[in-house]
């Protein structure tokens, strides 16, 4: 469903808000934001998005909610994450510093891929760097070499993950090796020569990749990913969405650790989605293995676990449907209701994976995949 953009809109307001946010993001993740500050910024963001993004405005008005009626940020309507597949949520004019990211979207068969419009990439850059630095690069005397199992953003401009790794590499890496091409193929020769160089240099490196990419290396008897020098770190992300095989996270990390000689408290899980520009990380590097299963959000992203029936906020620690209010999403929609289940306590998010071996109930099947090709009724 495409959306007419408001050509007449003066983008000054958006730029003002974005500039303020970028500046606050630069202050880093160590200091929590006050509720007052988050509230103030989120209400401003809502007023802007309500004004600019017409499908969102209609959605809010249908619920009788306008910037004039909301008392707090929690009352701001959250759009379903899957709606990014069907609606172009754009809250600022497109310009040179813009991008459109797409989800890989393979979990539901042939459905459309989700699109996230990023009118101002500098805001994404500003939001992604400090959490990544805190979770992966703390206590480093010198820049590390990056070994990326995520494709170079030059080849996949539609990937928000590639953009993230690219931006982080540009900012922090001593040198970056892109070991996987845009189609997901490993550059095997490069991988082995890089490993040799890394081994000889004996300087710690940071390896970044999806669970699937790591699994691919581990399953191939002719590919090696280690041993890596002491002090090396690993960022793993992505899970197994749409993949045919799954192994437990514990097994995966043990196998990565065995292969690379990087201890499991130096393997950091990143949790992100194309629909949200901010990421969450497991703080294992700073807090040790007690932090496994816990994800930290930056201060400009608030996560709530909601009652599955009423969508009211649940008490601390209770499992519910996760909703994210991400100020980095200023250029699209900040408040996103996901299908992910988890709990939140003291600002820490615990994700609950799907129950292993759980069976879908019944012999009935959603007909939407099948109908997708059916086209219009009239």
């Amino acid at each position: 469903m495409s959306t007419e953009q408001r050509k007449d809109y003066d983008s000054a307001n958006f730029d003002l808000l974005a500039t303020e946010l970028e500046s606050r993001f630069h202050d880093g993740v160590a200091m929590p934001w006050t509720e007052t500050e988050f509230e103030r910024r989120s209400l401003k963001a809502f007023a802007h998005q309500f004004d600019y993004c017409s499908p969102y405005r209609a959605f809010c008005e249908r619920r009788g909610i306008t910037p004039g009626t909301v008392a707090g940020w929690e009352e701001i309507p959250a759009v379903p994450a899957t709606a990014f597949k069907y609606f172009d949520f754009v809250s600022a004019p497109t310009r040179d510093d813009s991008a459109v990211f797409q989800t890989s979207g393979t979990t539901r068969g042939h459905e459309a891929r989700g699109c996230h419009h990023i009118p101002r990439l500098s805001l994404y850059r500003a939001s992604l760097l400090p959490p990544l630095e805190a979770a992966l690069l703390s206590g480093l005397p010198e820049p590390m070499r990056f070994l990326s199992l995520v494709p170079d953003p030059k080849g996949v401009p539609e990937s928000s993950l590639s953009y993230m790794v690219g931006a982080a590499a540009e900012r922090y890496a001593a040198q970056t090796d892109w070991l996987v091409d845009a189609e997901g193929n490993f550059d095997e020769a490069r991988l082995s020569s890089v490993l040799e160089v890394v081994h000889d240099a004996n300087e710690p490196v940071l390896v970044l990749g999806t669970a699937l990419a790591f699994l691919h290396v581990l399953d191939r008897s002719d590919l090696r990913l280690g041993p890596l020098p002491d002090g090396s770190r690993i960022m793993e992300t992505g899970g197994f969405k749409g993949a045919r095989r799954t192994i437990s996270r514990e097994e995966l990390y043990q196998r990565i650790s065995l292969e690379t000689q990087v201890s499991t408290e130096r393997i950091v899980n990143e949790y992100g989605m194309t629909e949200l520009l901010s990421q969450l990380y497991e703080p294992v590097l700073t807090e040790g293995l007690d932090a496994v299963g816990v994800h930290l959000a930056p201060p400009w992203l608030r996560v709530r676990a909601l009652d599955p029936t009423t969508l009211h906020r649940l008490p601390e620690g209770e499992d519910g449907i996760l909703a994210f209010f991400d100020l980095a999403n200023l250029g699209s929609i900040c408040h996103v209701l996901t299908e992910d289940i988890g709990s939140v306590a003291e600002g820490r998010v615990r994700l609950r994976g799907r129950v292993p071996g759980s069976e879908p109930r019944g012999c009935s099947r959603a007909m939407d995949d099948l109908m997708a090709a059916a086209g219009s009724v009239r």
Binding site: I341, G357, G362, S364, R365, L370, A374
Partner: protein
């Protein structure tokens, strides 16, 4: 349970088959019917136990659990089972020995061991399945689906009280889907395997079978509804909506017979859009009488995605949506154009307008291979031309909405005779 346990049980069942084959099919129908009737007996401890356990094990409200049990068990009674035998075989004694059929002298041979892997969701499907196996004198090993363990287990218990010899030929055991070693132990012992479930489940089981094993797969299906102008007069539309709401809401829409979309013809007294509003009203009524069961968080999350997307579409002028909010899981979406989007499968129905139902066959082509039941209203004489066209696409059942949820025991399950699927024939000519 270990694979060795499964093998041992299966061997016991195969031995019990000898005694089972000495009984006539009519006797077996009598026995099974007597057991089935206990699920309807007001004071019967079997019914009491079923009604007590079902809301928890099946995740249905007590009211819906009762309606489901009543609807299912109605078909487990003596008259219904005897009728099933007659409809399937003409002369049921062809299961007991050679019968002179006019052109051929023939006999129907049931399985040596019938292994049944049943999907969960709708409680009672496992019982209907095991009845089929036993009726054709096949010792039967049922692995019910998650959420459908209660009724077959109670049936097994009641059968033992009624007739230990027949009960010896039945085993009901649950294990988690994907327990390959247990599955394989059972597959190795059976000569007939039935599987209910997703395409992937059915395919995985079939792929592991030796070539000589008979396989009956009931894979994923979708059902729809079609409403012609004849059922859309101002006086009639409310009744039609009530029937549709019941077909959608029964078993909280977990049955493959439950419609997921209804096509409503233009030009009736009530427009498709108005009919969707009427259906919302009927869904509220149905929710009051038969509350929806609790949803798992993941299921609820899918419902919120469905509703949110529909609200967004409504906002941009593409249809409209009504839903039960936090008081009911039902959702009625009127979509003038097919919209992609998640389906909650928790009493969610899409209402789509169509100029003339004749156009439907072409429209349904993409889902033909998965099409099962077409619920109908207001099509009158036109059905005789429409049903064959839908049948050619893949539909196996065209029935009024009121009959959608509970097909009779002799229904052509996915297009095939439910008992005839389980037997093979031997013919004889004297020398």
């Amino acid at each position: 349970m270990t694979p060795a346990d499964v093998t041992r049980l299966a061997e016991g069942l195969i031995r019990a088959g000898e005694a089972l084959r000495t009984r006539t099919s009519s006797e077996i129908a009598e026995t099974l019917g007597r057991v089935g009737e206990r699920f309807l007996g007001a004071q019967d401890p079997i019914r009491t136990a079923a009604l007590k356990a079902l809301p928890t094990t099946a995740g249905l409200s007590p009211e819906m659990a009762r309606a489901t049990l009543d609807g299912m068990a109605r078909d487990w009674t003596r008259p219904r089972l005897k009728r099933l035998l007659e409809i399937e075989f003409g002369d049921p004694s062809s299961l007991d020995g050679l019968v002179d059929g006019g052109n051929r002298t023939e006999m129907a041979i049931g399985p040596t061991l019938c292994a049944q892997f049943v999907a969960g969701g709708v409680p009672g499907v496992s019982v209907s399945a095991l009845i089929r196996g036993l009726l054709v004198k096949g010792p039967t090993f049922v692995k019910p689906g998650r959420g459908d363990e209660t009724l077959p287990t109670l049936f097994e218990r009641a059968l033992r009280e009624e007739d230990a010899e027949v009960a010896d030929a039945l085993a009901v055991r649950y294990w988690r889907g994907g327990s390959t070693l247990l599955d394989d132990a059972l597959l190795a012992a059976a000569d007939t395997v039935t599987a209910y479930g997703s395409d992937a489940t059915v395919q995985a089981l079939r792929a592991r079978l030796p070539p000589a094993t008979r396989f009956v797969g009931y894979r994923h299906r979708v059902s729809i509804g079609v409403i012609g102008r004849g059922a859309l007069s101002t006086g009639f539309a409310a009744r039609t909506a009530n029937d549709v709401a019941a077909a959608v809401g029964m078993f909280d829409q977990r049955g493959c017979v439950c419609p997921q979309a209804v096509y409503v013809e233009e030009g009736g007294g009530v427009s498709p859009s108005e009919f969707a509003r009427e259906l919302a009203r009927a869904s509220v009524d149905f929710e009051v009488e038969f509350p929806s069961g609790p949803l798992a968080a993941e299921e609820a999350a899918a419902v919120h995605q469905l509703r949110g997307n529909a609200e967004l579409h409504e906002g941009v002028g593409a249809g409209h949506v009504d839903h039960g909010g936090s008081t009911g899981t039902w959702t009625v979406i009127f979509e003038p154009e097919v919209m992609e989007g998640p389906s909650g499968l928790s009493r969610a129905i899409r209402v789509r307008p169509i100029d003339d139902v004749v156009q439907l066959a072409e429209l349904l082509r993409p889902i033909g291979a998965h099409l099962q039941t077409v619920g109908v209203a207001g099509l009158g004489d036109r059905l005789r031309a429409l049903a064959p066209a839908w049948g050619r696409l893949g539909a196996s059942r065209v029935v009024p909405f009121r009959e959608v949820a509970f097909p009779p025991p002799w229904w052509l399950h996915d297009g095939r005779g439910p008992l005839r699927e389980l037997v093979r024939w031997v013919e004889m000519r004297s020398d």
